[in-house]
């Protein structure tokens, strides 16, 4: 019984409490690039979740075989294999998505969420726990993508779920091609600056919500979450990616409050 409860926790933590994008600040590159439209976000989310779940399971199964010195290259080989498989599937069944995601589809290989989970979780935990961890983190990633894409697509392009039929077609549903909401959208939000802006505001909102429930706010360079932490010489030199000055300042403020 206790076992079941903790497995449920492994699944649910990735969705809100340890959301990979908004709380752990991993996988920022695809988040910013793909969240232009909700359809692309759903497609990217599914692709990344598939890779994450499969690589987590395989890495967890091999965790006693892989020598720890060469674990990072070994993880990369496993992840790259699944990315190649997913790439082929997308090219064959949803070519429109392949065109929309472009280079970001193969770049799932270097998505820090996947290598990060392999290093932080799958390399140390049992297969069922790793499976659920991967699934939860994947859904959390998709959720964050959809939140950002909803804002950017509605305000920036004036549409919602535009082109979704390229995905629903797979399940035999055709004809629905999305809503048309605004007639004069603010195009800046679909361009690069809008990505940074919306991400910043969504993260501020997430911090506010976390603060209300008494959690610490998202910190970049959660160096422990970074897959390269073990070999990171900046960290080994005793410095963190974040300058120590800010931490000192924050603790001062904390004590003042």
């Amino acid at each position: 019984m206790a076992e079941n409860k903790s497995l449920g926790k492994e699944f649910s933590k990735g969705i809100i409490k340890e959301n990979p994008v908004l709380r752990l600040v991993l996988g920022t590159c695809p988040t910013l690039a793909v969240s232009v439209s909700v359809t692309n976000s759903i497609g990217m989310g599914i692709a990344a979740t598939l890779v994450l779940v499969c690589s987590n399971v395989v890495i967890s199964a091999l965790r006693k075989v892989i020598p720890s010195k060469i674990r990072i290259p070994a993880y990369i080989v496993v992840i790259a294999s699944f990315v190649t498989i997913v790439q082929m599937l997308v090219k064959a069944f949803v070519p429109a998505l392949n065109d929309a995601l472009g280079v970001y589809l193969p770049l799932i290989v270097v998505n820090c969420i996947i290598l990060g989970r392999a290093e932080a979780f799958a390399g140390k935990n049992s297969i069922p726990a790793s499976f659920l961890d991967g699934l939860g983190m994947g859904i959390g990633f998709t959720f964050a993508l959809i939140v950002m894409a909803t804002i950017r697509e509605i305000i920036g392009a004036g549409t919602f779920l535009e082109g979704i039929d390229s995905l629903t077609k797979l399940f035999g549903v055709t004809g629905f091609t999305g809503f048309h909401i605004l007639s004069q959208p603010v195009a800046m939000l679909t361009m690069a600056p809008g990505g940074f802006l919306v991400f910043g505001l969504v993260m501020a909102a997430a911090n506010k919500l976390a603060e209300r429930s008494g959690k610490p706010k998202a910190e970049l360079g959660g160096c422990s979450a970074c897959p390269m932490a073990a070999s990171c010489a900046i960290l080994n030199k005793g410095e963190s990616c974040e300058a120590p000055a800010e931490k000192a300042q924050e603790s001062k403020e904390g004590s003042a409050v």
Partner: protein
């Protein structure tokens, strides 16, 4: 002329960080101090150029010749990872002064999406060897421009009175948005010069 166009496009209009969102992690993580930002950027330029020089012949004479293009992702990432490790060992042994300047950034670059990204983009665009090299060096230089500019912006942010919820990462992203907005002004400039 064409090469100069590719070079300027990679730096200004298609800047890796500010327009293509590749390499955001080091952009946000290492841009706090000017000297770290510069060191990281030089290492990125170096690895990007080297990765392109090595993967181009592999792709052209090994993968394409045998119809194995679908292996590009897996081969490129392995070659880049091995290459970075190799360069690190060589630098440590033979050029310790360079190693102490760049070496600490090298492991971080293995999983940097900008490096894999530039290699894949060169293939997607169908560039030849010279164009690929120029695109990579230009992409790295663009990375450097963005990093160094942003390090300056962040130094100014340090002393500001920022609302509590926006402190830290959110305000950094909003500042990045403004820097990126200024780069949008370059749209069309390169076509205007070389068009």
């Amino acid at each position: 002329m064409k090469l100069a166009g590719i070079f300027l496009t990679a730096i200004l209009t298609e800047n890796f960080i500010l327009c293509k969102f590749l390499g955001i992690c080091p952009f946000l993580g290492v841009s706090k101090k000017l000297n770290t930002a510069a060191g990281m950027s030089v290492a990125v330029i170096f690895v990007m150029a080297l990765a392109t020089a090595v993967t181009y012949p592999i792709n052209k004479y090994l993968l394409e010749k045998n119809g194995l293009e679908y292996l590009q992702t897996i081969v490129f990432i392995l070659v880049i990872a091995a290459l970075v490790q190799f360069v690190e060992i060589v630098l440590k042994k033979f050029i310790p002064s360079l190693y102490s300047a760049l070496g600490i950034y090298l492991p971080l670059i293995t999983t940097n999406c900008a490096v894999l990204g530039v290699v894949l983009l060169n293939v997607d665009n169908g560039y030849g060897f010279a164009s690929s090299m120029i695109n990579s060096i230009g992409g790295g230089a663009g990375f450097m421009v963005a990093m160094i500019m942003f390090a300056g912006v962040r130094e100014r942010l340090e002393g500001c009175d920022i609302p509590k919820a926006l402190k830290g990462l959110p305000i950094t992203l909003i500042a990045a948005s403004l820097v990126s907005l200024s780069f949008q002004g370059f749209a069309g400039v390169v076509d205007g010069i070389f068009g």
